[in-house]
Symmetry: C2
Subunit: 308 residues, 2 copies
């Protein structure tokens, strides 16, 4: 799968991914749920509205980008209808040739991680019938439980040609509380040790120069990104935190290898809610929100191409 | 919420929780999905079968236990119909007076954790209508992202009278890889530092002697449980790993405080698949699987009451 992602990145000259993390507050008024707020089918209408929003953004940007990254929490908060919208979004992005990174941050003990891996990347034997429930291409995974929580995901990557990004150094302000702790055994911070383990977990999933076990490293910590880039030469890095969270184009150069590859940068709000942003709101009406998203993708691509 | 859990534990003299983690292989033949394996409604039938299995176990054990703990991964692996079975299980357990611990192990950056917290413990404003999508009473939470990933859950605990258990030292074999790393700053292992943070996060959510921010500590590491019990005097401990994973009754005494409280022990397979176990299979037919689960609960209670 990592090879497929790299091919798409090269073809479109676009090491970026659009985060499909919609909220109701982002929806333009013509897409707001079309149902009585007190009716039984209201939540279904919310799910349908979110899916329509995503579809328009996918349609407006699919030729420019290799991948989308729906954040499942934004769908899970609307319950079953929200999760149906998540699944419809995965399928629609696939139908437009996009790779789907499921931002799910799952992770558990071995047998339970195996169930999550089947749910999101692989397939499950449902009593004589094999079903691939959500069928994303990549998933993000939490490493806190160690190797036996990661291995079921790696196994499914091998059996189903999928890939993962393991949380190493996250983009949020308090990520350092645990991740930056220096370990007595080596004097190195925890995130470096996790990074070394990511490189190791990926070692028998190589496709060309990169493995199918990637890492999440926030754009908001460029110096740590630089160090992790060195420590994990075969690891693709998913970089959140660009744009709305404060990461800039100049911060990104450290995350890439000399081959111009090795990283894919996410922007969510900065793209999907671009029409609400001062930079775009004079040029694009609410009805043309998806065109604003396209313009924001083009601006992000310029910024990144200049800096790497 | 922790006070409600403690009251139920005292009333039933039962510091245990039954893990509702069904697999299709556990279902007795008369409950297997009633639909053509190649038909469109087959996965719905799988979800319905799992829910019937859970219902029978809840019916057979509800008077003996304070709580159930469905592991969402086991439902997520069957996609949308599986998640409907999860939600139906939460609601059915509530209708029988049980507290529901959603074993979801979510955790993300602040804004995303807020969405998970709303999804599972709180409610979301869906465009003028407030909806509580899954509405468990407790949720398990992963701490790797630090305070800003935990705080939205703590906020929802306060606003909606709910509670959480944060992963501190998990029951699986490789949990030590990161969790046991000694930190250079203090010489203490990471799990102790996380435990101290759990005690701190809970400090303004106290109800009586305990807070609404609990911890997950595996029965498989009793010595570490002992140390964590001392470090976190106001923290309730959810103890997985008893039974099928190898933890014994004798291992459990360290997890309790002198008041006989402070811990709740989970068993999943050992209870819900008891009818397949050598210990019970001669006494209970496949049709009476739920009675075997009841017997297994009674045996677990005897074992724990002897040891704490």
């Amino acid at each position: 799968m990592i090879k497929k992602l790299i091919n798409e990145i090269k073809k479109k000259n676009a090491p970026i991914v659009v985060g499909l993390d919609p909220t109701l507050a982002m929806l333009p008024s013509h897409l707001m749920p079309k149902a009585d707020v007190s009716g039984e089918d209201y939540l279904e209408a919310v799910g349908a509205a979110i899916f329509e929003f995503n579809k328009a953004i996918v349609d407006a940007t699919a030729d420019l980008i290799p991948a989308v990254k729906p954040q499942i929490a934004m769908y899970e908060q609307f319950g079953i209808p929200g999760l149906i919208a998540f699944k419809n979004t995965v399928d629609y992005a696939h139908s437009k040739g996009l790779i789907v990174i499921g931002d799910i941050k799952r992770g558990d003990i071995g047998s339970t991680s195996a169930a999550y891996a089947s749910a999101h990347l692989g397939a499950v034997d449902a009593g004589g019938r094999t079903v691939a429930p959500f069928d994303e291409d990549f998933a993000t995974v939490n490493p806190y439980l160690g190797t036996d929580g990661i291995k079921p995901f790696v196994d499914v990557c091998k059996s189903h040609d999928k890939a993962i990004f393991v949380l190493v150094k996250t983009s949020n302000p308090s990520s350092g509380e645990f991740q930056d702790q220096n370990l007595g055994s080596t004097g190195k911070p925890l995130y470096e040790y996790v990074g070394e383990m990511v490189e190791k977990w990926g070692s028998d999933t190589m496709e060309g120069d990169y493995s199918n076990v990637g890492a999440v490293v926030g754009a908001t910590y460029p110096e740590m990104g630089k160090r992790l880039r060195e420590l994990m030469p075969h690891t693709y890095i998913l970089v959140p935190g660009y744009g709305a969270q404060g990461g800039t184009g100049a911060d990104l150069k450290y995350f890439f290898n000399k081959d111009g590859l090795g990283a894919i940068v996410n922007s969510s709000r900065g793209i999907i809610a671009a029409y609400k942003n001062d930079k775009y709101k004079d040029r694009f009406s609410e009805e043309n929100f998806a065109d604003a998203s396209r313009a924001a993708v083009e601006d992000m691509l310029s910024d990144i191409r200049e800096n790497i």
